[in-house]
Amino acid sequence: MARSWFPALIVAAAAAFGTAARAQDAGFALTIKDHRFEPTELQVPAGKKFKLRVKNLDATPEEFDSSDLRREKVIPGKSEATILIGPLKPGTYKFIGEFHEATAKGTLVAK
């Protein structure tokens, strides 16, 4: 039966994703409050994948946007989003909150 390998494939894929998820578990967190990031500068490891959790404490949505990191993600008000980042080369990576560009600015420093 051509279908018999299918469940096995799903299990294998799930296992692979599981390991991948565990490998990136070292997480980092940012908060958005009054349209500002806190902290504005965050140290992250270079050369590996990691998760950045962004918690939006404002009632209004924000878009995490970084052309340096090549990431854009809308974070609705009063909610949290996880952004997968890396592996990064050592250096600084700017990001902004696109909906409040004047105040919401920050930098990741990869070391």
Partner: protein, 284 residues
Amino acid sequence: MLATAVIVLREVLEAALVVSIVLAATRGVHRRGLWVGYGVAGGTLGALVVAAFAERLAAAASGLGQEIFNASVLGVAVIMLGWHQIWMSRHGRQMAAELSSVGAAVRGGSRPLYVLSIVVALAVLREGSELVLFLYGIAASGPGQTRELGSGFALGLIGGVALSLAMYLGLLRIPAKRLFTVTGWLILLLAAGMAAQAAAFLVQADILPPIGQAVWDTSRFLPDDSLVGKLLHTLIGYSAKPYGIQLGIYVLTIGLMLALTRIVGGSGDGSRPDRRADRLAGQG
């Protein structure tokens, strides 16, 4: 107000350019305005729904709902554009042979305009939902913001529409014989750019491997968020720092669409450049 206008312009531009290309590609086709109108209306409605459910969408698929949604919307648009090109490569030629002197209105009769309508709707939906969230954010910041919101929104919208109107009028200056060759290529590049953008969202979700973090880096000369960068991003899929896989998908999309239009359109006298172009653009 200017800051608001700039963001509105950025979000409106992509959808507006798609509309102008679709309008130019369907020049002379009966009731095309209606179909484009349906697309814009459907997309706007969709954008409001997506914005309303933004929170649930963001939380879906273990927090990767947004990336998967964006990639899917772009993917469907690419398939629709490809379907249109292939359909035209078959029927455009056939019709031209049978009705060489009959007006374009008749030729366009059974053309799958709903396909282009869906493409317009998807473009409006994707950019529009972000715009709705942004505007909602300003409106919610306080009642004093409404005037600033209104004028910024109007200015950005007018700017975006003006730019794409300029592009549309520019396209119409091309002699009718060559216009559909040009719009055929524009649609091809538009589709390839959308496919590459979908790939970037899947890399962001860690579903596809990047295969090279940045093939080149032109972000100092022509950043993605500059006006020209954004224009080129929409028109030809420009990216200041493309992933390897984006480049691969881009080339693959162009190759696949050219191959399919050629196969479906029949081999015939492919040596004549205008014939080849006719197949690509799907017009006799």
